[in-house]
């Protein structure tokens, strides 16, 4: 597959307009996040911008000591990670099933998708009723259960889209050469859908990390981050929450920078190596 740079030849006008739209899109996505980052250096209590000479790390220091917020963050990270790790294989298996089916594909497809349409509060409430009947104690795991359902259709779709690259003749060739179904999957399919799997993991994590309504009904004694944020916004938020978002942004940018620099060194070394065959 094309691991090499496949840069589509395009006229200048197309390049310009597409880049412009991409830039606009990024601007809109980042506007609030960057605002929050700048405002987090405002030592005052009101969310707002201050001139750089008044910047202060007050709220970042507070953040380090904000037990409630950090524990909610930890809770959300755990729930998100477990959700991602569970939802992705299930989504992948569903996508593989879809491809392997001969009949009733449409119905299966729609059935998997219907989980997206259920309003979150109702799904959460209904599920908590079931848990109550089954005498399952609410905890971070019950949240995971609810979130796996929420993330599954997304994981399924993402895996399905990325499975498009796996042509039946590739599998057939592998099988003809004597590979069993699992071996064919592991050696042929899996490498090809690696980006899809990573995307599905990240997607599921983010979906769970930001999910509020289902979590409200399924959570145990420890609130997840969205629940904490909602409560904070409702009754008095210390600006540490803005410091948290600022910190996330800064750390992410730092990681991107590392990524850029790392790649720089590695590309210099691997220049000239033939790309993987498709």
């Amino acid at each position: 597959m094309n691991r090499e740079a496949t840069v589509l030849r395009s006229p200048f006008g197309a390049r310009l307009s597409f880049n412009a739209l991409l830039t606009i899109a990024l601007l809109f996505i980042y506007a609030p996040a960057v605002y929050l980052l700048l405002a987090s250096f405002n030592p005052g209590l009101q969310l707002g911008l201050v001139p750089p000479d008044r910047f202060s790390l007050t709220w970042y220091v507070s953040l380090a000591g904000d037990r409630k917020l950090l524990s909610a963050l930890g809770e959300s990270v755990i729930v998100g990670a477990v959700t991602a790790v569970i939802a992705t294989p299930i989504g992948l298996s569903a996508a593989l099933a879809f491809r392997a089916m001969t009949a009733r594909r449409g119905a299966f497809f729609l059935f998997v998708l219907f989980a997206m349409f259920v309003p979150g509060t109702i799904q959460g409430l209904g599920l908590s009723v079931v848990f109550k009947v089954l005498a399952v104690k609410p905890s971070w795991f019950t949240v995971v259960v609810g979130h796996v359902l929420w993330a599954l259709p997304f994981a399924f779709t993402v895996c399905l889209v990325s499975l498009a690259v796996v042509r039946p003749h590739m599998i057939a060739a592998a099988r003809d050469l004597g590979a069993g179904p699992w071996r064919a999957f592991r050696d042929v399919t899996l490498p090809l859908v690696r980006t899809g799997i990573v995307s599905s993991l990240v997607f599921s994590f983010l979906l769970s990390f930001n999910e509020y309504s289902r979590a409200y009904y399924l959570v145990g004694r420890y609130n997840t981050l969205p629940l904490y944020m909602f409560g904070a916004m409702n009754s008095g938020a210390s600006p540490t929450i803005y410091a948290l978002s600022g910190a996330v942004l800064l750390i992410s940018f730092a990681l991107v920078a590392v990524l850029l620099l790392g790649r720089r060194f590695r590309i210099g070394r691997s220049a000239g190596r033939p790309g993987n065959g498709g």
């Binding site: 409630k68 009904y217 004694r221 629940l227 904070a232």
Partner: protein, 391 residues
């Protein structure tokens, strides 16, 4: 470090320490705050853990550590979102009774929770401090059901409007909210629980509408009130409706609106941010509300009833009230707060605590209409609010 002794609310109340200051107080250590048995059950038991699931208005954050040292009760506070809908749903159909022990909620739902067996009545004999609660707070109708007390007033206040002095001058009537000259510069809360009452109060007192009880409207009265609101909404009178503390403060602090109905501490928050806001004393009166503590059935089943009662008692012992008053400007309706402050002068300013208490008492001595999440026609209220939303 800001001290708000020079804040001038209607009766000159000094309030609102920052969280930083509260943390410093905690660092002072419990030693500095030793009290002499002001109703605290002197801990003969080890620190008992109890899960307090309440509106964040009741949270004293880092103050719970000191509270634990003094009362022997380890309070694990979780925010319940302050919305009666999901809270009741989580109690009735969900798992709230499995994980929380004591609840704190806007008053009004006690009856149905009691009927469904989701909460247990308080045994007042185990709460000696109950007697210190101001009489009219104990008399709130919806906290008792069939002669038993289900809700213990934790916080009460009387609401009116926040106004910007330099924009609208001194206002003395809710008429400003509906004043066409202020079109697009006013706001109300996105909750029929409050906004219908304020409008009803205004219409009753200043426009002589045939309304008997603003807190409990008949279908006809409700129609008058809501039609009035719908008309003004269509005219573009309201910049927006706000929902929750941060939204309310932001509207005022960024001068997005010039006057709005809302909670008193928003004024303090605005002033902290340098805005010249004040709390109005309208002639039509105030809207009274209370957050009450309720005893969840699950706690009783788990054998935590005594600890829960100890908690309810400790909340009224003084430290909690003083701390909450300083942190959020809300009052726990008992005179124990003043007594505690006087006994601990290096922790709390007794004068400020007394002023806050008197300020609230004064408001309630005047015209106050009680908020109730369950007026007789509460479902009709919601239907009308939906019409308002669609308008």
């Amino acid at each position: 470090m800001k001290k708000w002794t020079d804040l001038n609310v209607s009766s000159g109340v000094a309030l609102a320490l920052t969280r930083r200051q509260l943390m410093q107080r905690a660092a002072l250590g419990a030693g500095a705050l030793a009290i002499g048995g002001l109703g605290f059950p002197r801990s003969s038991f080890a620190a008992n853990e109890i899960n307090f699931w309440a509106s964040a208005t009741l949270d004293i954050e880092d103050g719970w550590d000191i509270f634990k040292n003094e009362s022997g009760i380890d309070v694990i506070f979780t925010d319940n979102g302050n919305d009666p809908g999901p809270v009741v749903a989580k109690l009735a159909a969900g798992n709230a009774n499995d994980i929380y022990d004591v609840g704190g909620l806007q008053g009004g739902s006690e009856k149905e929770l009691a009927k469904q067996g989701l909460i247990a009545p308080w045994d007042l004999s185990k709460i000696p401090n109950y007697e210190t609660i101001w009489q009219w707070a104990r008399d709130i109708p919806y906290i008792t059901y069939e002669g038993k007390t289900y809700g213990i007033p934790a916080v009460i206040n009387a609401d009116s409007m926040i106004a910007l002095e330099d924009k609208v001058g001194t206002v003395d009537s809710y008429a400003v909210i509906f004043d066409p000259k202020l079109k697009g510069k006013t706001a109300m809360e996105d909750a029929w629980i409050n906004s219908a009452i304020f409008t009803a109060m205004y219409l009753k007192e200043s426009e002589n509408a045939p309304i008997a009880e603003p807190g409990n409207l008949t279908p006809d009265e409700l129609g008058i009130v809501m039609e009035f609101l719908i008309k003004h909404k269509k005219d573009g009178q309201f910049r927006t409706f706000w929902n929750g503390w941060e939204q309310g403060v932001q509207l005022v602090a960024n001068e997005e609106v010039w006057v709005m109905t809302g909670w008193e501490p928003i004024v303090y928050a605005a002033r902290e941010r340098g805005i010249d806001a004040y709390y109005a004393a309208p002639k039509e009166g105030y809207e009274g509300w209370g957050n009450n503590t309720i005893l969840l059935k699950g706690a009783v089943d788990r054998g935590l009833s005594d600890t829960a009662h100890a908690l309810a008692n400790a909340l009224l012992a003084g430290f909690y009230g003083c701390t909450l008053g300083q942190l959020r400007g809300y009052v726990v309706p008992t005179d124990n707060n003043v007594a505690y402050a006087e006994a601990n002068p290096d922790a709390f300013d007794a004068k400020a605590v007394k002023e806050l208490a008197d300020h609230v008492k004064a408001k309630f001595a005047g015209k106050v209409y009680w908020q109730n999440t369950r007026p007789d026609n509460f479902q009709l209220y919601e239907e009308w609010w939906q019409k308002l939303r669609n308008a």
